[in-house]
């Protein structure tokens, strides 16, 4: 048994050696006689020029006029004839006298191209040549062409439709409010707290601190905040309670000065208005937060009102105010900061309640009309979502796709 195995192993070793020698012999390079390079003829013949080139404005209902579509016929040497066309150069120029620059290098066999990112309405001159790696054919040109902007972007028709519905609703309700019709707005729990807070500050003989957020004046939350500030300023003017308004933006400070001064004048207390209480602190987020914290600890307001756009400084302000023992009412539509205000403040106006507050407090017809219009726009939105979900469930996606404008 042992001898048989030894014999088998020996035979396998010999066979492997012989096989290796055979493979090595087969893999050995074959030395051929080299042909001198100077004997290989160079290609000096250019390929035939491509066929007719046509250019036209790219037809798309949502085109911004910045695309040109080009078509041409293949060179006779592309896939036929001398079969040496490697590709095509597409040239573009702004004048007929110059060939311009190469805008695309296209592979052989291609007969179509869309040139993008052009200037709408500008005239362009195109030409095309075939190349074989060494030589280039004669150029084939076409008539000048310019892109045209489409008047209407059909992919955004849904935006126009819903904006018209919304504007219509706002106009209708604004007219009703101006006519004196009673427009019901349900009670918002946090709003009564504002008056209570100001009353508490008056009883304690301490100021009210109103922070309109750190958003710029073009931020809708800041605009809503300034409307609420007007209401608060009227109350503080009536009760002769100091009102401190720190701001983080210079333009917001200007607007706040106007609002507070106007409020004091309307209540008949123009002399009580103190412009030094409307303060620009800093554009820097945490410098503003630090300065407001300093105001809270040194001037000890009894009521802190945070209304507007806030970011990471929200909890810094709310916690410091809580430690200082002030009653705090907050209102913001910043979803990321609402949890902190809900946790640290006594009352919080969430999201659209901030915008509703300005209408609820002032009862101005335009604001009421906007609030009612947006309310019924929510009803339209609910109806569209339900209808879209049902149609989607039934396999009809066209309706929902109409709202996908990207």
């Amino acid at each position: 048994m042992k001898r048989t195995w030894l014999t088998f192993l020996a035979a396998a070793a010999v066979a492997t050696s012989l096989l290796g020698a055979a493979v090595a012999q087969e893999a050995a390079p074959v030395v051929e006689e080299e042909v001198p390079r100077e004997d290989v003829p160079l290609d000096t013949v250019a390929p035939a020029a491509p066929g007719a080139l046509t250019a036209r404005d790219y037809l798309d209902s949502n085109d911004a006029g910045d695309k040109i579509e080009l078509d041409w016929e293949l060179s006779p040497d592309d896939g036929a004839g001398s079969c040496d066309v490697a590709g095509y150069f597409l040239w573009r120029s702004r004048s007929a006298s110059s060939p311009g620059e190469i805008v695309a290098e296209l592979p052989s066999g291609q007969t179509h191209y869309v040139d993008r990112n052009l200037e709408p309405g500008a005239e362009y001159f195109y030409s095309i040549t075939a190349f074989d790696g060494t030589n280039e054919s004669a150029a084939v040109t076409c008539a000048p062409v310019a892109g045209r902007v489409n008047l209407f972007q059909t992919s955004r028709a849904s935006i126009l439709a819903l904006m018209l519905v919304f504007f219509g609703l706002v106009l209708v309700f604004t007219k009703l409010a101006e006519r004196g019709d009673e427009l019901f707005v349900r009670r918002i729990p946090g709003l009564n707290a504002i008056e209570e807070a100001v009353g508490r500050a008056t009883e304690m003989g301490r100021p009210v601190l109103y922070v309109p957020g750190i958003g710029e004046i073009d931020n809708i939350m800041t605009i809503a905040s300034l409307t609420i500030l007007s209401h608060v300023a009227k109350i503080t003017a009536r009760y002769e309670t100091p009102l401190i308004v720190p701001t983080a933006r210079a333009v917001v400070m200007s607007a706040a000065e106007e609002v507070v001064k106007q409020a004091y004048t309307e209540v008949g207390q123009p002399d009580a208005y103190n412009p030094d209480n409307i303060r620009y602190l800093s554009d820097a987020q945490f410098a503003f937060a630090g300065a407001v914290n300093g105001i809270m600890l040194r001037e000890k307001p009894a009521a802190n009102l945070y209304m507007g756009a806030f970011w990471a400084e929200s909890l810094l302000l709310a916690e410091t105010g809580f430690e200082a023992g002030a009653i705090q009412v907050a209102g913001t539509a910043m979803v990321s900061q609402l949890p902190f205000f809900v946790t640290a403040c006594d009352f919080t106006l969430m999201g659209e309640e901030l915008y509703a507050a300005s209408a609820y407090l002032s009862r101005e017809p335009k604001l009421l009309g906007g609030l009612k219009g947006s309310d019924w726009m929510k009803v339209v939105t609910i109806a569209l979502v339900v209808l879209g979900a049902v149609l989607n469930f039934m396999g009809f996606e066209t309706f929902v796709n109409w709202f996908r404008t990207q």
Binding site: L162, F393, V400
Partner: protein
């Protein structure tokens, strides 16, 4: 040596601000006033070089608007003066007799931005949301999304009292809102802790070289 001085100053200011956790004190007051003053000067320079210079000074005095040369002979150079003039008019509020002129600038600024913002906000926050949330009710996730959306919209409906079926949807909506707020609170606290870790790392590693 220079690095050590500035690092030490940064560490002292950091500790001064943290001393606020105990109570208000002169160190915190100093750090607060320093940062407010420095940031005011810093932003003044930022705003000049990022906004006023490229949009007003350069077009008018270097006679270019973007890449296009413009000259006093063309009709375009004054375009750059209009926003500059509106900005200057804001300063009239320091003069009581002409302070009302500042309202023009403010009105154009607020009205312009509000008008320009209507279409993109309507597209991003209403239209696209309808398209994204009109989901077929074929899975638990889709059902939760649609119910949560309808409930939240019902909660923010101000034209009727929250009674009956509207009240049910509104209470459902507030539950979804609070769950969302809890999740937002959690991950935001995590990011704030990471800021604290950065500061502690500065103190222990960059300043004291203890870790």
């Amino acid at each position: 040596m220079g690095t050590l001085i500035w690092t030490t100053i940064g560490a002292i200011l950091t500790l001064s601000v943290y001393s606020f956790l105990y109570k208000d004190n002169p160190f915190y007051k100093f750090a607060e006033h320093l940062v407010v003053g420095v940031s005011a000067g810093y932003y003044l320079v930022i705003y000049y070089y990022n906004f006023i210079d490229p949009n007003v000074v350069t077009p008018v005095f270097q006679l270019r608007l973007g890449d296009q040369p413009i000259g006093f002979g063309s009709g375009a150079w004054w375009l750059a003066l209009i926003p500059g003039l509106l900005g200057l008019l804001l300063y009239t509020r320091f003069f009581p007799k002409v302070a009302w002129v500042a309202r023009w600038s403010l009105g154009i600024y607020v009205g312009g931005y509000a008008g320009l913002g209507i279409s993109p906000v309507m597209q991003a926050r209403v239209i696209e949301q309808i398209g994204a949330n009109a989901l077929p009710l074929t899975s638990v996730t889709n059902v939760l999304i649609v119910i949560g959306l309808l409930g939240t919209l019902a909660y923010f409906f101000f034209s009727m009292k929250h009674r009956g079926i509207l009240g049910v949807f509104a209470r459902t909506g507030i539950v979804f809102l609070m769950v969302g707020f809890g999740a937002s609170f959690g991950y935001t606290v995590m990011s704030r802790i990471s800021l604290l870790i950065g500061r502690v790392s500065f103190l222990l590693h960059d300043w004291l070289h203890l870790v």
